[in-house]
Structure formats: structure tokens, C-alpha cells
């Protein structure tokens, strides 16, 4: 019997049942299709995002901070990557053996690690800025809950020699002092980021987009010459030590280009290890500190008098009495030599002579001279904390003040301003703008006095360093040198301290075609001698001699040993 034809199987079902089923299934499909359209077409952001997060990654691209080099490209500051080790204390799990190894690698006692981990539950730095090799070995310990960060650390191979010029950077590689701070915008790099596709091995297989281009910081070439810097620093250190001075500063300028070739300060510090720093070590005295310069200012008064036609170098000044009374005050000369010529006033550094010349000049003109050579205004080097110095308005000058200003009292300047002002004698009357960065095209100066006056002053300043002047110790074998000493009582509590001095010397060489201007300052020399000619001039001589030799400047004087007068026989200037 045919099974299919069995009458039992012949069922008469109502047609609506199959229709209903069909409609339900079709409806179900429609809902699915609608959902698919909704998810894939209309509202796909969320899923797209989730999908991408499975394979695409945003990577940080780190940028380097620019290097600082000297004028010949020698590296003075370089950033190099280091690692910082941090932990999530809650998750840290290690055996006592691992703990001991970790402590040894990080060079800290195990108790210190425990202490740091107990400070917080979510985040703790164990040690910052460790070398990459050490970090790699820490990684090999495979301690859970321990992580590493890439950071940059700045190294200064020059160390203490140029610490105050370069300054230093903080933990995040941002400048905090000196050049590092002044040129932060140029030196700093901008880190970038990009989106990439990684495969399951973690390898980058495709670059999707660059979100932000990384920009490395620019390298900075300073005007400093590392050799001259080292010479200046070591000579200054010798002098500060042997004279038991509280502090010292020196600056070497290139008279031809206005560049700062060397700039050193004492006391100093090691920028690579900055624990226990004091303000005295950090200060760049050359630029940020001012002092009453004393006799180093006399040439400016004399230059003005010559410029105005009031005197010539041969004009006699009545200094025979050795004192000059203005109102209630009296100015004294320590030694009297009878009447002197204007040139001898500079050579022997007579206060009475300088004061008399000053009183023959209008206060306004004198102020104008000081202002034009840059006293009272910052030299605009772009260095943080440049001092303006103090130059009061001429309307408030009393005659005694005008007289004392002629020999550098009642006015304060920074060593940088003083050295810069002397460029008018080195450059035939032109005042140079200064630059801490290497300049490729020479800067142009501003004419302050006539070339003729500058030549006359140079001759007078040359007499000052000759036998019979105040600073024979400033002479350099083989070169004609010109310069002026300064010795001033220190200002203290509104008056002058009796036995505290600032000794200085500013000079230039070679006289026939000046190339360098060097200014030296020693603060409170206390080993017996305090005259600028005895304390600061020898530093000038040593640095100038070495620098001219290093720069290959041809000698302009016969090469024969200098005959120095016996110690203490040089003309003592007036303080």
C-alpha cells in the first residue's frame, strides 16, 4: 500500500495558518534587515569605533630637545632618553629575592622602596631618570605592577665651567635657568602622534594618518668658544682662590662682532648634579648683578670732555692740592703728583682730576654720555633677569654727585654693561650690540664718540697699563694692551663698607686693531690685596694672552719678556 496515499495523512488544515507563519517569518526578516541597515548605514559610529579599537592604535612620537653647542659645534648640552620606573603599589607582587635585586639595580635601600610603595595605592615613582640599560635589567626581573616611562634627561659635559650661562632644565625637559630658559621656545621639541594599524603580533602594518607631526627642537649655536671659556674660568678660579674673594666674574667680548666669547662666574655649581644649590651659585653675576664700578668709568668722562672740546690729552689739571671740596664734601687723592695732564689723570687714576673734569661739563651731557654707552638700560641679550643698573636722571644730580660719578660712584652697572661700553674705545667710537648666539653677519654698532677721541682714549688707556700706570700687571707679552682698573668700596646698609672692596679691570687688545674686550670683577678679595691692578689685572693678562694666542691674532708688539716692577710698586689708584 502506498504510504503517501494513506487517507490518514490527508489533513485539511486551514490556509491562514501557513499564511500567518509566512508573515511572521517575513516580518522577522524585515526586522533583522532594518536593524542591519540601522547599524551599518544609519548609526554605524559606535561599531566602527569598537572595531577600530581592535586593530588601530594612536602612537606618541617623541621629539628631542635641541642641542646647545659652542661656536665651533662642540656640544654643551644634549638630551638623551632615560627611563623612570613607577608602580601601581596595589598590584605589586614580588618575592623577597626580586625585591633585593630591584633595590640593588635602583641603588636604593629596600626599605626606601617599601616606603615609596606605601605612600599611595594607585601611583608611585620608584626612581626617575635611570639609564636605559639599567631600566632594561629592571624589566627582566618581570615584577608585576611595575612600569616604565620614557623621559629625557639633559647632560652638560662642560659641567661647572659654564653652568650659569647655559642654565638647566627641569624634570620635564623645560628650561628653568639661563639660555635653556631664554631660548625655551627654540630648543623645545613638539611631540606628535599618529594612528596606525597593528597586527596580532603587535607589529605596525599600516600607517592610517598622522595626527600631529613631531617637531624636534632646533639646535642652538652659542657665541661662546669652549676653549676661551675654559681658559677664562680656570684663570678666574685661580684668582678667586688666591685672593680669597667671595665671588668673581669675567666676560670676554669679540670687539669685531659683538659676540660674547666667554662668560664665567664663581661660585658655580655642577648642572648635572643639582642637589644643595644656593642662590649665590646660580646667579650669573656678569649679567644680573650690578656694582659701583669705580675708576673704570673715568675714561667716559674724559672722552666726553675731549669730544666737547673742553680738554685735550695734554691739558693740565690742577691736582697738586690732592683734594677738592664741593659744598661740605671733600674728594681726596691718596697720592699727589703735582698737577697732571688729562692723560695722566687716566694713567694714575686721579679722583680729583676726574672730578674736576666732570665739573666742567654740563650734567645733561654727562648723563647723555652714560646713557649712550648703555648704562641704566639692560643690554638686551635675551637673557633672563638682565640688570638695568642705576643711572639717575640728571635733573636730580647735585654737584658732588656729578663729581663722584666721574669716578664711578653713585652709579651702578653690570659687568656686561661695562664691557660693552668699552667697545666704543675698541671700535673707534662705535657701541656694539651684544649677542649670546653666534652671529654670521657682523652686527653694526652705533657711533657714540668720534674715531679721533677713541684713538686718544686708547692711547691713555695704554699708558695706564704701562710702567707708571695703575696696572702694569695687565700687560701681555707680544701685544699692546689698554685698560683701566677699578677699586670701589662696597655699598652696605646705605653707606660704604670700610674694608670690603670690589676690584675690577676692563681692557682691550691688541691696541693697533682691537679684537677682544675683557672685563674682570672680583668681589671682596680678602687676602691682603684689593687694588684692581693687583687682583683683577693679572687675570685679564692671563686670559687676554691665552685668548689672542688661541684666536691666532698676530702680535703687534715686540716679543720680549715684560719687565714688571716689583710687587706693590705700581701706582695705587684712589678708592
Amino acid at each position: 500500500m502506498n504510504y503517501a496515499a494513506s487517507p490518514v495523512l490527508v489533513l485539511r488544515l486551514p490556509l491562514w495558518r501557513s499564511r500567518l507563519l509566512l508573515t511572521l517569518i517575513a516580518g522577522g526578516f524585515l526586522v533583522l534587515a532594518g536593524r542591519a541597515v540601522y547599524l551599518q548605514g544609519l548609526n554605524n559610529d559606535f561599531l566602527q569605533q569598537k572595531g577600530e579599537s581592535r586593530y588601530s592604535r594612536v602612537l606618541e612620537i617623541s621629539a628631542n630637545r635641541g642641542r646647545i653647542t659652542d661656536r665651533h659645534g662642540e656640544a654643551l648640552a644634549i638630551s638623551t632618553p632615560v627611563k623612570s620606573v613607577w608602580a601601581i603599589p596595589e598590584e605589586v607582587q614580588y618575592s623577597s629575592q626580586q625585591r633585593a635585586k630591584l633595590a640593588a639595580l635602583l641603588e636604593m635601600p629596600p626599605q626606601e622602596i617599601d616606603k615609596r610603595l606605601n605612600e599611595s595605592t594607585s601611583f608611585a615613582y620608584l626612581k626617575r631618570q635611570i639609564p636605559p640599560e639599567v631600566a632594561e635589567r629592571v624589566n627582566e626581573l618581570r615584577i608585576a605592577g611595575l612600569f616604565q616611562n620614557r623621559e629625557y634627561r639633559r647632560y652638560y659635559p662642560g659641567g661647572e665651567v659654564m653652568a650659569q650661562v647655559l642654565g638647566f632644565t627641569g624634570a620635564n625637559d623645560t628650561g628653568q635657568e639661563g639660555i635653556e630658559l631664554a631660548f625655551q621656545a627654540t630648543l623645545a621639541g613638539k611631540s606628535g602622534s599618529r594612528r596606525v594599524i597593528k597586527d596580532r603580533m603587535g607589529q605596525i602594518v599600516e600607517d592610517m594618518e598622522s595626527i600631529r607631526e613631531a617637531q624636534n627642537g632646533q639646535d642652538l649655536a652659542l657665541a661662546l668658544d669652549a676653549k676661551l671659556q675654559n681658559l677664562a674660568y680656570s684663570q678666574l678660579k685661580l684668582a678667586v682662590d688666591s685672593n680669597k674673594a667671595k665671588a668673581g666674574a669675567i666676560v670676554v667680548l669679540d670687539a669685531k662682532s659683538g659676540e660674547v666669547l666667554a662668560l664665567a662666574n664663581l661660585p658655580t655649581y655642577n648642572p648635572n648634579n643639582r642637589s644643595r644649590l644656593s642662590g649665590a651659585q646660580l646667579r650669573n653675576r656678569v649679567i644680573t648683578d650690578t656694582f659701583e664700578p669705580g675708576s673704570t668709568l673715568k675714561p667716559f668722562t674724559v672722552a666726553l670732555a675731549i669730544e666737547q672740546g673742553k680738554v685735550t690729552p695734554q691739558t693740565m689739571v690742577a691736582t697738586a692740592s690732592g683734594s677738592l671740596s664741593i659744598g661740605k664734601a671733600t674728594i681726596h687723592d691718596a697720592h699727589t703728583f703735582g698737577d697732571m695732564t688729562v692723560a695722566q689723570v687716566i694713567q694714575r687714576s686721579s679722583n680729583v682730576g676726574a672730578a674736576k673734569i666732570a665739573l666742567s661739563l654740563p650734567a645733561e651731557a654727562m648723563w647723555g654720555m652714560f646713557d649712550k654707552v648703555g648704562f641704566g638700560t639692560a643690554p638686551r641679550l635675551g637673557f633672563p633677569g638682565e640688570a638695568n643698573g642705576k643711572l639717575r636722571a640728571y635733573k636730580s644730580w647735585r654737584p658732588i654727585e656729578q663729581a663722584t660719578m666721574a669716578y664711578g660712584h653713585g652709579i651702578s652697572v653690570s659687568l656686561m654693561q661695562l664691557a660693552r661700553a668699552y667697545t666704543i674705545f675698541a671700535r673707534d667710537g662705535e657701541l656694539m650690540p651684544l649677542s649670546l648666539l653666534r652671529v654670521d653677519a657682523p652686527l653694526t654698532g652705533r657711533q657714540v664718540i668720534s674715531p679721533d677721541t677713541a684713538h686718544k682714549l686708547r692711547a691713555m688707556l695704554e699708558m695706564a697699563v704701562d710702567v707708571g700706570g695703575t696696572a702694569p700687571k695687565a700687560r701681555v707679552m707680544g701685544y699692546r694692551v689698554a685698560g683701566k682698573t677699578g677699586t670701589a668700596h662696597k655699598e652696605e646698609n646705605g653707606g660704604y663698607a670700610a674694608h670690603k672692596y670690589v676690584s675690577s679691570f676692563v681692557g682691550l687688545a691688541p691696541v693697533s686693531d682691537p679684537r677682544l674686550v675683557i672685563a674682570v670683577m672680583l668681589d671682596e678679595p680678602s687676602a691682603g690685596q684689593y687694588y684692581g691692578g693687583a687682583v683683577a689685572a693679572p687675570v685679564f693678562s692671563a686670559v687676554m694672552g691665552g685668548a689672542l694666542r688661541i684666536l691666532g691674532v698676530p702680535p703687534d708688539a715686540p716679543l720680549k719678556p715684560l719687565e714688571l716692577p716689583p710687587d706693590g710698586s705700581e701706582i695705587r689708584e684712589d678708592v
Binding site: I204, V205, P555, D556, L559
Partner: protein, 98 residues
């Protein structure tokens, strides 16, 4: 007609396979490029460190110390110095000194 379709189908398959291989190659090359760039970065870091080392060794204070103490060198005295200048310049200087 059927033959053309068959040829087109084969062509299409070949192209598709080609696309897959070239994509794979591109990714492989890219990851190689990436590795090399990483290496370049590392070399750059190493260069920085070497420069640092060089300038530390070449510190003028250190060089001077070695020259003076170990090699017993010194700056020549003026009595032992002879300056040689080009003839024209020498004449000029002589006049300037006079």
C-alpha cells in the same frame, strides 16, 4: 559567450589574488620600514650619547691636565716664539709699531 565569461572570471580571480598578495607584501614592507625607522631612532639616541661621551673626554680642562702632567707639555715662552707673517702684512705691522 560562455567562453568569454569564463576568461573574464579567470581574469577576475587572478586580479583578486594579485590584490591580496600585493596588500600582504605592502604590509610586510611597511613593517620592515617601521623597524628600520625604529633602528634609525635608536642610532640617533646612541649618536647623542656618543657625542656626550666625546665631549666629556675632550673637556679642555682634562686635555690640558693630561698635556701638562703626563706629557709634560707647556705653552712656549715668548723668547722661544718666532712669528711668521706674510711679507705685506709684516711691513704693515712694522710700520704700525713704529
Amino acid at each position: 559567450m560562455a567562453r568569454i565569461n569564463l576568461i573574464l572570471l579567470l581574469l577576475l580571480t587572478a586580479c583578486a589574488l594579485g590584490l591580496v598578495t600585493s596588500q600582504h607584501k605592502a604590509r610586510k614592507l611597511f613593517s620592515e620600514l617601521e623597524r628600520e625607522q625604529e633602528r634609525a631612532k635608536q642610532l640617533d639616541v646612541e649618536w647623542g650619547q656618543l657625542q656626550l661621551e666625546q665631549s666629556t673626554w675632550a673637556m679642555h680642562a682634562r686635555v690640558e691636565k693630561i698635556a701638562r702632567e703626563r706629557l709634560r707639555m707647556s705653552v712656549p715662552d715668548a723668547r722661544r716664539t718666532q712669528v711668521v707673517m706674510p711679507a705685506a702684512e709684516a711691513k704693515e705691522k712694522a710700520e704700525a709699531m713704529r
